[in-house]
Symmetry: C2
Subunit: 342 residues, 2 copies
């Protein structure tokens, strides 16, 4: 993968938390990050993950969830006494149930130049099903013909799974359902069918045996998925020792399917790298980075809601040898880096 | 579920470890347990999980895996210096990779009375794919028309997933593939299609958020699965606090689909209980046990390869109100209990 370089467009983010208005009444925005990206008409769209939390109250811990009551989804804030002693600011265990302290939804941002974005005030997708009770996170967009398929993490109270939805106009969206059960994340569709099937990369979240790794599966209809196979995982390097997951939709090159992926070190530092998969058999790894192409270095990549993260699930092509890579920084804002094939 | 009782047939197991000959050269049988069960012709078949390990050697830890070399699967024993200090006798982490200390395969046992079994000397299914490198475990058999569908845990080096195979004669077996990715276990098919689809219960192995719970999904073809939905999980009792997973194939009753399931306490003690699901919408829970129907009490249920376990993935009907429940005891042998509806 030596012919590829990934360099920041600027030392400033293209989007920060303060650019985003909270949607929830009495909520604050903790981060606007990890966007999917695509071209639509003459615009570049980002589909941001916006994480919001109820405004803090002294001595209380407020936990947002979406409850399904009589078939309707209702945003609810549960209030608990603040746990004694230190606790994870993102995930807390209360009364025997694990909760997230924030609730993420997916919101569109629009740009003509790919650099200056206008952010919608309302969500494009807000949690609306029992399996989305803890939020929607980290979308990927894949265009196949005139349909934009959106994969995302649907966080249920029983773990995060892979949700799939589709749109043709970015106004109406149709949910296909939970296509991969918990615990799974980081799913992206290929932009072409292979042997007549839709193809998807995903990342099972294993615990007892093995480490998180990139898998592939296929589907005749987008609803039902099978033939799950391991593609690649930790290769013994420190920077991708703990986790590996695919980023945005793979793109076809004359050398193979180009995959942008993230690795996480044992210290939970996230970095970006590349892999190439066989065009005709995308379960076959042809090549991959031996070192990360981008690591968290700038202050807004190193400090935020979750520190030391560069994570990408959105890119757009700028010609045969250039891609604009939008990346989440420290689970707070969005940066832009240019991927070039030399 | 008050009208159901589950009582041991005898205070002795129907099968023990010593009844089984090891298949691997230089291997010992650690357990023959957790059988699937079905009627076939005029026999009752058990499809046992047989766990074998290389014979111990002083100061060394021998780890069995099945490697795929040039497309052929080869049983390999890796030898490591014995870890210093205490270690889990079942799962060890060596050189950054987690291994199982035993390798399980699936072997048939045959009986005319359901009590006295003759055990095959060779496996019915032996690990033979990269995603089976660490073994095959805990099968379920579901007959639909003249096909016997076999779900099982395929343990890959990257976590345990759900494998599916089918047979019509219990001689030849065709693998469908890994139908649910890691980490997942305890999958069983319903014996009838619902709305034209095959239906399956499964148990995602979540870690960060939620607890293991029973989910449902559906498939038009047996290969591709989707529409994953949560069905039931921990209800606040101590005996099923840690884990809940479905057992053998659900059976149709006039009250609903009868499901035998296991719960595990925080102390990893496994017990058996019942649930009823809606006939027309098996994702809907109608009823479930408030207390376990069988808990580990006898010495061979409390002591073994993994202590304090009664776990069932096999039963056969003995009329409209009686089922013979075969259950694994302490990951070592097999017991028989009679389930009666009064």
């Amino acid at each position: 993968m030596q012919k590829y370089t990934l360099q920041r467009y600027s030392d400033q983010p293209v989007l920060t938390t303060t650019d985003v208005k909270p949607y929830g009444d009495g909520f604050e925005v903790l981060g606007a990050f990890n966007p999917a990206a695509c071209r639509f008409g003459d615009e570049i769209l980002l589909l941001l993950r916006v994480a919001e939390a109820p405004s803090p109250a002294a001595g209380r811990l407020h936990v947002p969830i979406v409850e399904t009551i009589n078939g309707n989804s209702v945003l609810t804030v549960k209030s608990f006494p603040e746990p004694e002693g230190p606790y994870d600011p993102r995930v807390v265990s209360l009364d025997g149930q694990t909760y997230l302290t924030s609730l993420s939804h997916l919101r569109l941002a629009r740009s003509h130049d790919g650099i200056h974005f206008t952010i919608d005030e309302k969500p494009f997708m807000f949690p609306a099903r029992p399996d989305e009770a803890f939020g929607l996170e980290d979308a990927r967009i894949t265009r196949i013909d005139d349909t934009y398929w959106i994969t995302y993490t649907a966080v249920s109270a029983n773990g995060p799974g892979v949700g799939l939805a589709k749109t043709t106009d970015f106004v109406h969206v149709e949910r296909v359902g939970m296509v991969l059960p918990p615990p799974n994340k980081d799913a992206c569709l290929f932009p072409e069918r292979v042997d007549g099937n839709l193809v998807m990369l995903h990342r099972p979240m294993v615990s007892d045996i093995g480490k998180p790794s990139v898998w592939i599966c296929e589907s005749p209809d987008g609803i039902h998925w099978g033939n799950h196979r391991y593609v690649f995982g930790a290769a013994g390097s420190a920077w991708d020792y703990l986790k590996i997951g695919a980023g945005p939709e793979p793109v076809r090159t004359d050398e193979g399917w180009l995959v942008l992926y993230h690795g996480a070190s044992e210290q939970h530092e996230y970095a970006l790298a590349l892999a190439l998969l066989s065009i005709n058999d995308p379960g076959q790894l042809l090549d991959r980075s031996t070192a990360p192409l981008l690591t968290p270095e700038l202050i807004w990549e190193r400090e935020g809601f979750f520190p030391n993260v560069v994570f990408s699930n959105g890119w757009v092509s700028k010609g045969p040898n250039e891609w604009w890579v939008y990346y989440g920084a420290a689970d707070s804002g969005v940066g832009l880096a240019i991927l070039t094939r030399h």
